[in-house]
Every structure is written in C-alpha cells, then in structure tokens.
C-alpha cells in the first residue's frame, strides 16, 4: 500500500498535465485521471513487472481515447475562445496569451496519434521507448510519427499566423 503510493503519487502531476493536454475542461480531465488512478489501484496485481511510468500513462491514454470516441460532440460544446483562458492556469502577458491560444488550437487540430506523441515526448519527457510502449507501436513508428506531428504543428501554426496577418490588413 505504501509502496503503491510511493510509486504512483510522484507521477500524478504529470498525468494531470497529460489529460489537460487532451481536454480543455480541467474538471473533466481530472475526472479521467481519477478514473485512471482507481484502475491502477484495482489492477495493481496485473501489472506484474511492467515499468510504472508507461503502465500508468497507457491506462490514462486509453481512457482519454475512449472518451474522445464516446463524446466528440460534448467536447465541441466548449467554445475555443473561453476555453483557452478557463482551462489553463497560465495567465501570462497579453501577447503570450495570444500565442498560447494559437498553439493550443493548432495542437487540438492535430490527428490524435500525433498529438499523443508530441505531448508524451515533448511535455511529459517520456523516453522514445516508453512513449512507444504507451501507444503500443514500435519505436521507429513512434519517431516518424513524432517528426511528422511536429512538422504538421508548425504548418498549422504558420497557417494561423498568416490568417491573422490577413485580418490585420
């Protein structure tokens, strides 16, 4: 029991952050993390020798994907403009806020596979092997998905910036 807490709890902040990368509704994201932790506790014995970090992130990732499949309409009910501010505790300077808004919108526009790799590697700092284990793909596939995802994200950001310039003119 103490062992479980010692292994799981240090990872909770990261798990919450990963869920928040997927969902703009902070309360909903936390609900899914809660579900993930309950599952981790109840299936503790099935873990066998699996390394802790990929095991937990995999449970969470699968719940998030399930949720996305089940409730695509619900997710769209959150208006993007308010979501940026509400969902993120970041309240930076005005210009930062705008850039962050663009970045979030571009991230949300990525295919889920690419978004998952980018968040797991760039934000959660999982190793390539760990991220590959979470998503159940070979490391090579993971790395090319990561590179494609990053290119796509840059394209989306570029498109957003161009649209803004046009509006200014």
């Amino acid at each position: 029991m103490d062992e479980r807490a010692a292994l799981i709890e240090p990872l909770i902040p990261g798990l919450r952050r990963y869920a928040r990368g997927w969902l703009r509704d902070a309360a909903l994201a936390d609900d899914i993390v809660q579900d993930c932790l309950e599952r981790a506790v109840s299936s503790w014995r099935q873990r066998r020798g699996d390394p802790m970090r990929p095991w937990l992130y995999a449970i969470l990732h699968n719940l998030l994907v399930d949720h996305g499949r089940r409730a695509p309409r619900r997710a769209m009910l959150v208006p993007i403009d308010t979501a940026d501010e509400v969902a993120l505790a970041v309240r930076a300077k005005q210009s930062d806020a705008i850039e962050h808004g663009d970045l979030l919108r571009s991230l949300d526009a990525l295919p889920p596979d690419q978004k998952a790799v980018i968040l797991l590697v760039s934000v959660e700092d999982l190793s390539y092997a760990e991220a590959a284990a979470v998503l159940g793909v070979p490391v090579g596939t993971l790395m090319s998905r990561l590179s494609r995802g990053r290119d796509r994200l840059a394209e989306l950001m570029g498109a957003g910036a161009r649209a803004k310039l046009r509006r200014v003119k």
Binding site: R4, L28, R39, A71, R74, L88, D151
Partner: protein
C-alpha cells in the same frame, strides 16, 4: 566511417537526447543544410512553448481524492456492501426460481410502472449525458441530498451502494414528474458509462415485480416496493442491469 544521419537523429536532436558525439555529427550536418536546420529550430521553439504552456499545470496541488491511500480506503470500505449485494441477488434468484426470464417477457408494463419507466428514461436522457453538471448535489453531499430528497418526496430515501457492480455514486437531484418530485441518482461506471436510478412514491402499482423495458437507446428495469417505485436506467448496450436492479432492491429492503 560514421553512420549516416537519419530522421531519428534529427528528432533526437530536437529533444536534446543525443550523445555529445552524435550531436556534434548532427550539428555539422545541419551547418551544411540550412533549410533543415531552420525546420528543426522551429520544432525546438515549439517544444519549449509547449513545455511552458503546460508547465504550470504540474505545479498545481494534487486533489485530495487522488491520494492513493484515499482511493484504497474507499475501495475497502465498499466490501461489506459487496456481500450484501451478492446475498440480495442470491435471495432474489432463489425467490424467482428461474421464472424470471419468462415473467419479464410476457408481462406488459402496467400503467403505474410503465409511467415510472418512461419518466426515468426522460430524466436519464437529459441529465446523464451532461458532462459538466449532471447532479445538483455531488457524492460528497450525500447526506444533505438524502435528507432534502426525503423531505421533498415525503418518504425516506437511501443511496444504494453499487461499487461491487463497478458503479460509484456520482450525485443526485430532484426531477419533476407528472406525479410530483422524484429523486434521480447518478452512478458512474467504467469508461464513462452512466447509470441512473429514479425513485418516487407510487399511486398505483404500490408493489410491483420487476419489469424490463427498452426504449430506443436506453433500457430500464422497474419495480415498486411498499409504495415506492424504482427504475434503473442504462444505455441499451449495458449488460448485467438486472443483477444491479436486484442489488438495489435488496438494499432498499434492508434500510
């Protein structure tokens, strides 16, 4: 001879995960390929921006409900209810003597119970699909909900424990029906599955045996005991609703 530069080297360069030696080789390559270098620098900036964007979230204090100790404790607390539920289900199974299946299929919903099931279906569609605020009072306000609802309905109500069936109490609210206020309890199961229990006093069908009904995307199991009607509602794909209904009936009989 060095191994040729691969996409994987470039990706690892962005993440700063190369050995010093390999990084040197990649940087020589980038010096010769400015467009690739620009692309990768942009990716690096993006990576930094993402980290700063999400960085603060990890610094937020973790909710108390996420403590592993709390989760483990709430699991072990539910164990007595598990025995109760199984015992109730067994008793019911014996009581019905296997005639259950025939009974539900041949009995048309009677007026009172039929109306109850319909009301339960309406409430379920409105509230169970609500991701933000399905309940007026959450699981933490269970006691207040029970005393308030008991007062409004004019009859003592209880919140059944369905943990062993994999559903935990998420909250409840009063809903309007043509027969006065009814209590709607919501339970969350695995993978966002939601179940609701509607209960209210019955004018007719004060005691009625269990009836299974199905209405489009939802299914219900409804019955009445000692003047209170119950209807359990779940998506029609949910299996095992009847044992859950039996457990609720058993728990209500002992309170």
């Amino acid at each position: 001879m060095t191994t040729p530069i691969g996409e994987d080297d470039l990706t690892a360069w962005v993440d700063d995960r190369l050995t010093a030696e390999r990084r040197h080789v990649v940087e020589l390559y980038l010096a010769d390929h400015p467009e690739i270098a620009t692309r990768l620098r942009q990716q690096q900036d993006q990576r930094t921006a993402l980290r700063s964007l999400f960085g603060l979230i990890a610094a937020e204090p973790v909710p108390a409900t996420m403590r592993i100790e709390a989760i483990a404790a709430s699991r072990s607390r539910t164990r007595p209810a598990w025995f109760q539920a199984v015992a109730a289900a067994l008793l019911l199974a014996v009581g019905f003597g296997g005639g259950w299946g025939v009974r539900t299929r041949t009995m048309p919903p009677q007026a009172g119970i039929g109306a109850l099931a319909r009301e339960a279906g309406y409430s379920y569609r409105v509230y169970a699909s609500d991701a933000q605020r399905p309940a007026e009072m959450g699981a933490s306000e269970k006691q207040q909900l029970v005393s308030w609802a008991s007062r409004r309905i004019g009859s003592r109500v209880a919140v059944p424990d369905l943990a062993e069936a994999g559903y935990h109490f998420a909250g409840g609210r009063l809903v309007a029906t043509p027969h006065g206020p009814a209590l709607l309890l919501l339970y969350d199961g695995a993978a966002q599955a939601r179940l609701a229990v509607l209960s209210r006093p019955m004018d007719i069908d004060k005691d009625a045996s269990m009836v299974s009904t199905r209405d489009g995307d939802v299914q219900q199991v409804s019955w009445a005991d000692r003047g209170i009607g119950f209807s359990v509602v779940a998506p029609s794909a949910t299996t095992g609703l009847q044992p859950i209904a039996a457990a609720i009936r058993g728990q209500a009989a002992t309170t």
